[in-house]
Symmetry: none
Subunit: 393 residues, 2 copies
């Protein structure tokens, strides 16, 4: 049976100004695949819904987020390699700078990863009867997990996305939510105290508080293999994407140099995918940099990201696998935010051809796949790799 590589270019779609980054980029390899294969437009969730990357990835990978979305916290924690247990409450965490009850820098001046790692050691590992697990990732980012009896994810974030710091409070009247909010507030106080006095924190923007958001409970889900019969592996840099894959029971390759930012080593990732496709039925490969450029409002950086991705396409082609390339949503650079615009998709190998010759928003809208949705992608892959089970006889 055939193999498949699903390449998700985060935030791929854009708007014409007058050209979109995809239209402006020189991308002979992506265009060649579009020309030889079939194209279309894809709504990651439903038409015009603006998805977060977590929700979009779940839907594209065949997990209806209305049934399977667990919040961002558990996905971040899983992506950092924390082995979650049923009932664990996880949060996305930021090292931040806190002065006079105000958050003066939500990212503590994008603190270096090595300093964040050193500071993590001052954080408490137990509060009352609750085990506390903290792990930092790139720069200011990290995840916090609370493990113990009687906890709830229904508590407010302490990350205000604004200036004023707010204590955590329960969002319902259960004793579980009250207990969890108390633990978080104790954790925050201890963190402020310990981090403020840490010698590593002698800097202009000290990382003297941990902000939390995206609370979610962990609960295991039927694995991707159980549900689709595909033995899949993830090649990604960002913790969230590795976390989604881990949540679905996929293996996650740790590729040196795959950082999930603009310094990521795309060639190393492509070579890892090429190697992995020998052993696995499907490689889910994720590249973040176009989304980051979109959020930064940087046309040239998004265009350049596409050109860098184009350069590694020949490595993926060597696999002989069916190749599906799309995004998890649009991040138009002019909006500096996700949008609900459809994302171009190309399918090379196993599918029909159409008359579209280029891979961009304008060309693919006339493609032979028409408009599909995120949830159609795994059935499409099962079909083109001849793995789909017949319905009826």
């Amino acid at each position: 049976m055939k193999k498949a590589i699903l390449l998700i270019i985060d935030g791929l779609g854009d708007l014409p100004t007058p050209k979109s980054p995809l239209q402006a980029a020189k991308k002979p390899n992506l265009d060649r695949l579009a020309n030889k294969g079939i194209t279309g437009m894809m709504s990651p969730v439903k038409r015009y819904i603006v998805p977060g990357s977590d929700v979009a990835h779940l839907n594209i990978l065949g997990y209806d987020p209305s049934l399977f979305y667990c919040g961002r916290g558990p996905l971040e924690a899983l992506g950092l390699g924390i082995k979650l247990q049923e009932g664990d409450i996880s949060f996305r965490a930021n090292f931040a700078t806190f002065e006079n009850n105000k958050i003066t820098d939500r990212r503590a001046g994008r603190i270096e990863t090595s300093i964040a790692a050193a500071l993590s050691k001052y954080l408490p590992t137990k509060i009352d009867d609750v085990q506390v697990i903290f792990k930092n990732s790139a720069e200011h980012r990290g995840a916090l997990v609370l493990r113990g009896a009687g906890l709830s994810s229904n508590v407010s974030p302490t990350d205000p996305h604004g200036d004023d710091f707010e204590e955590c409070h329960p969002l319902d009247n259960t004793k579980e939510a009250k207990k969890t909010a108390e633990i978080i507030n104790k954790f925050t106080k201890i963190a402020i105290q310990k981090l403020s006095s840490a010698p590593e924190n002698k800097r202009n923007t000290p990382a003297n508080i941990i902000l939390l958001r995206g609370a979610g409970p962990f609960s295991s889900v039927p694995s991707f293999y159980e549900r689709f019969g595909l033995n899949a592996v993830c090649v990604a840099g960002g913790a969230l994407y590795k976390g989604v894959a881990s949540y679905l029971g996929m293996d996650v390759l740790l590729v040196p140099g795959a950082t999930g930012d603009k310094n990521t080593n795309l060639e190393a990732k492509a070579k890892a995918a090429l190697k992995a496709v020998v052993e696995y039925d499907m490689v889910f490969m994720h590249i973040k940099l176009c989304d980051s450029a979109g959020h930064d409002g940087d046309f040239n950086s998004k265009k350049n990201g596409i050109e860098r991705i184009d350069a590694i396409i020949p490595i993926l082609e060597k696999s002989g696998a069916c190749i599906v390339i799309t995004g998890d949503h649009s991040t138009p650079y002019s909006l500096k935010a996700h949008s609900g615009h459809e994302v171009p998709i190309l399918v090379y190998g196993g599918e029909r051809k159409d008359s579209v010759k280029k891979f961009d928003e304008l060309s693919c809208a006339a493609g032979g796949l028409g408009h599909i949705r995120g949830k159609d992608i795994i059935p499409l892959i099962l079909n083109i790799t001849q793995r789909a089970e017949k319905y009826g006889s």
Copy 2:
């Protein structure tokens, strides 16, 4: 009000190698209808789902298979003209060759229909308190019906689709499933005994066992006429398709020469459809031969089948009816199996025009209907024949 002919070309869709059979075939009449009418692509069930012909036909005829699929057995039995009663358990049956507990030929050398008919008379008509109804159709094919109290369709098939014969066993712990499995095993023993000693069976591949699969209970469903207000008739050769029509309460025309195989008389079927459209609102016409060619991996035979179908189109045109032509699924000859690729569709009369000039997978993907699903077809027919009821006022 206008009439409609819905022509389902079984297994119509294919893949380009570099041309598909549809692209390679000379089909001036189908192309003319595509040129004068409107085209699109159709997913028989949902996008990329690989349907069996039974499930696909139910959905295309407006019966959601998740609600109305009864298994293949009842549809085959109905197609052979057996009048099913509520609770009857039916199976698709094969005459086969059995030696030393192995199935050496699942089709008993494609036994002649007349010999199968003669052999049918040796089969039991009652086992314990259960009435047994067997009817043979073309070659090795047939249907078996069990009628009596306390039966279940939740039993295993005795048709192994492989070498080793397996007894029937219950698939749950109910006494109904146990009883049904016992009756089937008694039937099988008697069949082996009686058929082995039958003088008609002196041949190299004796038809000395009956293999069963597709068990299903019969339960009547609201008729096609009740649900859609269309007085419809079926023109088909294959038992399954006549069975689907019968299940939905359509009349079924018995057309001499309509055999459901490559020797079928297409002209006789077209003339029957032309005549029937005077009396009926809708003719559901089914042609099998392209699917058979796809399963056999025979490009030329599929292409030739399309050309034979093209030749009868002018007969259908004489009716003045709206004509809808599509397939129930793709059967790419290169895969020798059903696939989840969309099927081209053309609608002539009552609909708009588009700029597509040819009826094939590449051309219709750019058609004005876009991508529709099987369940859209009956509403489409109601619309173009001006029979659709207004929703709202």
